[in-house]
Amino acid sequence: MEINAGDVMLELRGIVKSFGNTEVLKGIDLTVRKGDFVTLLGSSGCGKTTLLRIIAGLTEPDAGEVLLEGKNICSLPPEKRDVNTIFQSYALFPHMNVAQNVGYALKIRGVEKSAILRRVGEMLALVQMEGSEKKTPAQLSGGQRQRIAIARSLINNPKVLLLDEPLGALDLQLRRQMQYELKKLQKQLGTTFIYVTHDQEEAINLSDKIVLLHDGGIEQQGEPNEIYDHPHTSYAARFVGNANILQGRIKRIDGGAVLLENECGTMFAAWDGGKAVPEDALTLAVRGENVVISREPAPDAALCGVVEANTFAGGMLRIPVRLCNGGEVIITRQGIHFDFSAGETVYLRWEPSAAVLVDREEAQS
């Protein structure tokens, strides 16, 4: 994906950071386009919050550069950077009321009082908190505090808004609603958002681009559907798509499909046209909803296994099937009806296009 230099809002080059003996970030290169909603996705400890703090200027990198609209801002303290942060705990000032909190950035810059009040009113309207000027943070609910934190950090029209798991403290229903509102707000203002989360659903719903971090490095980056449909690694496939990871040796390559074989049978995957030697062990990722289950072995390709149980959660059935080699495939189905019971021997298959080869050593195109 080519990006014009003029479209680049933020660029990270070779960011390295260690805490003690632990290398948290191992050379991060990242380009963020103007007006994009970019999500830094990863499990806890992957370095995503540290990366955000480095952009904000709250943590100093050991090496690397942070460029905002082409200018290196690494030497600037946080107050001189044209980026603002929404903290996980919101960090509203407890000794100030809502208006003072929201107007803080303007007051500190010596803006005239009437202008501050007007702007505070505008910001509160933007986050639908009109009339709450005189309340203190302690009098607000979690969702309301969230809105005030958003208003406070957007009052200065930052070039980039950094959000550190801002919805983590809210309950599921409120989180869904705030997701929608955040996205709407971002589109309306056109501000570049960099959003940190460990929730892949949230990342998929909100982002123009997902940056999947793993173990201090970027595992994969791209549009949500790109990562979801074409994960490059087994980690990405598991984390973003909840995919099943299976291994097998090449038995046959047939046009767009490759047939893999292991102890439990054979399975298809889409052939990526890469280098391959027969008998090579390859890894594939297949999502649970694409697995077809039957009592009879399929003529072309099937894996043999035993149904272990079935559990219903979040409007979905989740059926783990134990393979003869000890591996596990989790099948998902909409609804609550499932014809197979625990202990039954079954055969699993899927279309070649439903499975993606991952962890390929050569560069992915």
Partner: protein, 285 residues
């Protein structure tokens, strides 16, 4: 009312109330009563209502004594704040081990009687003492400075004695600070200094105010420091009360002085609550 007789838990707190009544409230009532009694040379006092003990305080000598005590208490509190706040602040920002070490160092003086520690200052400050010898050795002065038995000596002694209370009070509130708030302030455009004055200082103000109360109130009454290091040249209300009680033999006057002192203290405490909006003193040990 039934629960009062069936539920006997109130019996448990009874000794506490009895103790408070007998040993705290009793003496105060007695003191107030005595302050309105008539002095009788030689035999103590007579139970006859009079205001002369309070009228006597208008004497310039005693007014001066109150003024001097007040000035000394104020300077002590000011110095304790100026030294204790940064000290407590830095202590609160240390790591776990640093905090423990500093806490230990701050607490060490309490292991020795304050009187003995004051004799230590006597040795440090005297004409041929450690302090003067050091200054002479450094070539800063030729003649030993007269510090002992002067006002500065008393001030040094007072600040020395009361500083730990200020440090601990400030430390307690700094410890409770959520430093994300400072990051938020910096992020929103505040420099280090502005973030400190708009956020940190405001949020640690209750600690500083407690420290001020904890240093100001005792420094109005600490008489032995002024007696030892000031050489009886500086008479504070505390010394005056002690003097009137023992040598002067005017118990009603001593009681009246103590009552006024207590009144000043109460006004201070009331002002504290009004100013900070908190009922409890932070760092009270």
């Amino acid at each position: 009312m039934k629960s009062f007789w069936t539920d006997r838990r109130w019996l448990c707190v009874l000794p506490l109330y009895a103790f408070t009544l007998v040993f705290v409230l009793g003496p105060v009532v007695y003191m107030v009563a005595v302050s309105f009694a008539q002095n009788e040379a030689g035999t103590g006092f007579r139970w006859a209502f009079t205001l002369e003990n309070f009228a006597k305080m208008r004497d310039p000598v005693y007014v001066q004594c109150f003024r001097e005590s007040f000035t000394l208490a104020l300077s002590t509190t000011l110095l304790c704040s100026l030294i204790g706040y940064p000290f407590g602040y830095c202590m609160g920002r240390l790591g776990k081990r640093g905090k423990r070490l500093m806490m230990f160092l701050v607490m060490v003086p309490f292991w020795t009687s304050s009187l003995i520690r004051l004799y230590g200052w006597l040795i440090l400050l005297q004409a041929k003492g450690v302090f003067n010898n050091l200054l002479i050795a450094l070539g800063l002065i030729n003649e030993p400075l007269k510090i002992l038995y002067t006002y500065p000596a008393v001030l040094i002694g007072m600040v020395y004695g009361l500083l730990p209370f200020m440090i601990l009070a400030v430390y307690t509130s700094v410890e409770k600070m959520d430093w994300t708030l400072i990051e938020a302030a910096r992020d929103l455009g505040a420099s280090r200094a502005k973030a400190f004055f708009t956020v940190t200082l405001r949020l640690t103000l209750p600690g500083l105010m407690s420290g001020i109360i904890l240093t100001f109130v005792p420094s109005m009454g600490l008489f032995f420091i002024a007696d030892l290091l000031g050489g009886n040249k500086i008479v504070l209300v505390g010394s005056l009360i002690q003097d009137q009680m023992t040598r002067g033999g005017n118990q009603p006057f001593a009681a009246a002085l103590a009552l006024i002192l207590a009144a000043v203290t109460t006004v201070m405490l009331w002002a504290y609550r009004r100013l900070t909006g908190t009922a409890e003193l932070e760092g009270m040990l």
